[in-house]
């Protein structure tokens, strides 16, 4: 909206249109002691938007465990930081770009990647790995193919160009995402521990510098758009989506890291949601200082931009920095070398106020604290979700012979190979990808060392729908298990909390329960939350997504000679770690084979989880494991099939002595379990050792031959398993005429 178009309406009307409640508008009046002008009103509305202020979630986020001896910086900064030894730290965060990616999938996803990369290199880290979690609607839904194609191309288009490998992620489908897909992007970077940069402004009089791309009229009010549910008019919101320029981002990374090698920078913050507004309020707010900006000095892509447009633009690839006085010229030379804009746009003051000058006039003059650190906080009403009842084992009918059910599961949308996705991502650039996509966790070498970082992101939304607390706990546990399965020591997580509207008590109740589940699991597994993001309003016309607290985890591999992958080798004994109870509630078997979505998710026993995982990690570190895979979606049979596919060898499972129905043993999704491939001669000792350690373990079969069999029956060739697993996604995506969008 232009100021002149706004003139016909009263300020309270415009405030409502900007997403401010009447109470919030009244608060803005009392803060200013007068009616705000249109620019000031714009600033209030974005800074107090759910997206920027976390006003509905703050109260609960504070309850998460965020500390450990290896945590250098927890939530509240651009990204979280953990110590990884050798004088280095890992810097990481995950963020959502759900709403824009539904409106314009290519650019929405691309700018999601760009934004999370900036959060990480802003802190002085070179990004070394990207991951993403994508949740699409039902494959039958008319928009799904178009969204998959656009989002995957957008993620790849950005990450490939900046030259950061995209090494892992998830991609699943469910009808609850028909109107709201989820695009969560995570970046992991590495910095020297003594060269980390923060956003807290310091030193009144210090110059405030703008670098990167020019400011244009794109993405205005994107943060407000992302703070409301979708109605029927999604297409009309397209102008709020930004356009990404990964080439400029690559230059910005190099220029920033070059400047960061000097001592010029006092504070730095990327311009993400709400652009220049949030970066200036947040930097000054954290430092308890004031800021004067000369908007005429801001590099602009077009003429005649108003103060409102300059402040609210979400043009991409821009940074705001506070420099040491006198460092301007040296800094300018670096950015000029990289052919990026560089402009001194203001100074820090001691007033605690933001003053904007534009065209010889004061465009805004307002206190900073009430819009930043002291912005509103709500205790939204919430209603505890009713837990889905446990589903008795005998309440589930065996619908198909197990080998046919296995074929169906391996080719169902959620379990089908996502090679079609990750082959569109450059997952090898930087030449440090030691374990590529497709395993439990990816492993990237810490450049120039023999150590590595393991990275993964996980969540099982159907569990969270059935029981948000257990589901969230399971998401954290699965991250921890996946890091463990490659031999890493889990360090910390980032969370990306995707929910419906917090204004509905039942959604708020899911959120509160989800936070409790995350908190419980993090505490028990010693894996704190160091960064995160909340995305509410993922609903369309009153229908919310399944709660999706997506968890991203980072672990440390001390010796790259001692990691494990999924590929079993001919002759390996297969050892099952953990307890099998045949839990089929909320399982993939129940949904895909029986056609029911009900029952409680499998219980998560965090103490057992930890004991089993610590035991497995010790074995891997001791070089005693040929292959390791955690058991998750689809259960034991699927896990062993995946190991056979990865190893190109068959396996004979022997499960004759089970007390439970065999199909429940094969497809139950009991937690805290792993399958190991170990040299056959060592299996008996290993099982005895496990018993001593109190860890359930038993030999369940042997790798070898060309077929996967159970109790000597149901042979399926490894080639068939692989073909069934690989076929679905390419076939699905080719079911549409080629698009010309990009």
């Amino acid at each position: 909206m232009s100021p002149s178009a706004a003139a016909a309406r009263t300020m309270p009307e415009i405030a409502r249109e900007f997403g401010l409640s009447d109470a919030e508008y009244a608060l803005s009046l009392s803060i200013l002691g007068r009616e705000p002008n249109i620019t000031e009103l714009g600033l209030f509305s974005v800074m107090w938007s759910e997206h920027c202020s976390y006003k509905s979630s703050k109260k609960w986020l504070r309850t998460l465990p965020t500390k450990a001896p290896w945590v250098v910086c927890g939530p509240g900064e651009n990204a979280g930081i953990v110590d990884i030894g050798g004088g280095q730290v890992a810097v990481f965060k995950m963020e959502s770009h759900n709403h824009p990616s539904y409106i314009e999938p290519y650019q929405g996803a691309a700018t999601g990647v760009g934004g999370i990369l900036r959060d990480v290199f802003t802190m002085g880290a070179r990004p070394v790995a990207n991951l993403n979690a994508l949740r699409f609607g039902s494959p039958d839904h008319a928009k799904t193919r178009h969204l998959v194609r656009g989002v995957v191309a957008g993620v790849g288009g950005y990450g490939n160009c900046v030259g950061v490998p995209t090494v892992g992620g998830e991609c699943t489908f469910h009808s609850s995402n028909n109107g709201n897909n989820l695009v969560n992007a995570m970046t992991v970077g590495i910095a020297d521990a003594d060269r980390v940069f923060y956003s807290r402004a310091a030193g009144p009089g210090n110059p405030v510098v703008y670098v990167g791309s020019k400011t244009g009229r794109d993405g205005i009010h994107g943060a407000t758009m992302a703070s409301a549910s979708f109605g029927g008019e999604v297409e009309a919101k397209r102008p709020t989506v930004q356009v990404g320029d990964p080439f400029t981002e690559k230059l910005l990374i190099e220029a920033c890291l070059e400047l960061m090698a000097t001592d010029a920078i006092v504070a730095i913050q990327d311009m993400g949601a709400a652009g220049l507004t949030s970066s200036s309020f947040e930097m000054a707010g954290k430092g308890g200082l004031g800021l004067e900006l000369d908007l005429d000095a801001v590099p602009q892509r077009e003429t005649g931009m108003s103060a409102y447009e300059i402040m609210l633009s979400e043009s991409q690839e821009r940074m705001l920095m506070v420099l040491r006085q006198g460092a301007e010229d040296a800094a300018r030379r670096i950015f000029e070398k990289w052919e990026l804009d560089f402009a001194v746009v203001g100074r820090l003051t001691e007033t605690g106020r933001l003053v904007l000058r534009h065209g010889g006039e004061i465009a805004a003059d307002m206190p900073i604290a009430p819009l930043a650190e002291a912005s509103p906080e709500y205790d939204r009403p919430w209603r505890a979700p009713a837990a889905a009842p446990m589903l008795a084992a005998d309440a589930v009918a065996e619908m198909l012979p197990p080998p046919d059910a296995l074929r169906k599961l391996l080719s169902c949308p959620d379990l089908a190979s996502k090679r079609w996705v990750w082959e569109q991502y450059d997952h090898m650039v930087m030449a440090d990808t030691v374990r590529r996509p497709g395993g439990d966790a990816a492993v990237v070498r810490i450049h120039g060392t023999d150590r590595g970082l393991a990275v993964t992101t996980d969540c099982t939304p159907r569990y969270c729908q059935a029981d948000p607390r257990t589901g969230a706990m399971q998401a954290v546990a699965e991250v921890w298990r996946n890091l463990t399965a490659v031999g890493a020591r889990p360090l910390a997580i980032t969370d990306c909390l995707n929910f419906g509207s917090p204004e509905r008590p039942e959604v708020m109740g899911q959120f509160v329960a989800g936070i409790q589940g995350i908190a419980d699991a993090c505490a028990a597994l010693d894996m704190p939350v160091v960064s995160g993001n909340v995305s509410f309003y993922n609903e369309t016309e009153g229908a919310a997504i399944q709660p999706t607290p997506q968890i991203g985890g980072v672990g440390l591999v001390d010796d790259l000679d001692r990691t494990a992958g999924m590929a079993i080798a001919d002759g390996d004994a297969l050892v099952l770690i953990g307890t099998t109870a045949g839990h089929l509630g909320a399982s993939l078997y129940l949904r895909e084979i029986v056609g029911r979505e009900e029952g409680a998710p499998p219980p998560v026993d965090l103490a057992a989880e930890r004991m089993h995982g610590d035991f497995v990690r010790r074995l891997i570190a001791g070089g005693r494991v040929d292959a390791c895979h955690d058991i998750s979606d689809g259960g034991l049979y699927v896990a062993v099939a995946e190991m056979a596919i990865a190893g190109g060898t068959g396996a004979a499972l022997h499960l004759e002595s089970e007390a439970l129905p065999l199909f429940a043993v094969l497809f139950g999704e009991d937690q805290g379990r792993y399958v190991l491939g170990v040299p056959a001669a060592t299996a008996a000792d290993l099982v005895a050792e496990a018993a001593t350690a109190g860890v359930p373990a038993r030999v369940i079969g042997r790798a070898g031959g060309g077929d996967l069999t159970v109790n000597g029956d149901w042979p399926i060739s490894v080639q068939e398993l692989a073909a069934v697993n690989e076929a679905w996604l390419p076939a699905y995506m080719s079911g549409q005429r080629p698009e010309e969008d990009r």
Binding site: F247, L251, E423, V429, A431, R436
Partner: protein, 229 residues
């Protein structure tokens, strides 16, 4: 051997190839910014992979006009070995040091995976470490790797033994879906007439370290070092 790596805005495999060169040569290459008009004395010039100028006009087209390219062309003309990988290959075709053009992949999508290559000639400093007919594994990662040239040019490449690598299956057979991008005659890499300039889409530097799952690419760098030391 002293190598130089030319760094364009948007290059992103410059460090990767520098690491592979240093492993082979025992000393790091010089990294030369594209705005330089002078080049230090060098035994090998490498144009690395990446997205120079974002591939925004046409992959490699802008970089081919960079100030440093005048000197690269002159050195190539004087017989200095040049290696262009991926975006480097695109730049070499755009600046006329190699014939043909790299068009959008036939599948229209970016593709990143290991491919099998048949070594078609060992008669160059770049490929001397391999045996003709040998099958090697390198990764590809590109959106525009579909090599095209008019039939006369392709025939001249063939007749002149200037096709360095072809996409193939693990048994060394071409055709049958082994070609990842639609390149004419399954061509993955070519030499100039003088045989001192090689351009290829696959990335030897990405499998030049056993830690990363293979080292077939390391032999290209080792061969260059042996020939040029």
């Amino acid at each position: 051997m002293q190598a130089v790596v030319i760094v364009f805005p948007g290059s992103n495999c410059d460090r990767d190839v520098a690491v592979a060169l240093e492993r082979a040569a025992g000393k790091p290459p010089l990294m030369i910014w594209h705005r330089e008009t002078d080049l230090p004395l060098a035994d090998l010039i490498v144009l690395p992979g990446g997205f120079s100028y974002g591939d925004y006009l046409r992959a490699g087209a802008m970089a081919a006009q960079s100030p440093v390219m005048r000197e690269v062309r002159a050195r190539a003309g004087a017989g200095v070995p040049v290696l262009g990988i991926c975006n480097g290959f695109q730049i070499l075709t755009e600046c006329g040091l190699l014939p043909g053009a790299l068009l959008r992949n036939s599948g229209l999508a970016f593709v990143c995976r290991d491919v099998w290559l048949r070594v078609e000639t060992a008669d160059s400093v770049h490929t001397r470490a391999y045996r003709p007919g040998e099958v090697v594994r390198f990764p590809i990662a590109h959106h525009d790797g579909n090599f095209r040239a008019d039939p006369d040019t392709v025939r001249a490449l063939e007749d002149g033994d200037r096709i360095a690598f072809r996409y193939c299956n693990p048994a060394g057979e071409v055709g049958g879906g082994a070609n990842p991008n639609g390149s004419v005659d399954d061509i993955a890499g070519i030499l100039n007439e003088r045989r001192n300039v090689l351009g290829l889409m696959p990335h030897p530097e990405r499998l030049a370290d056993p830690r990363l799952g293979g080292a077939d690419g390391a032999r290209m760098f080792a061969g260059l070092v042996q020939a040029l030391a």
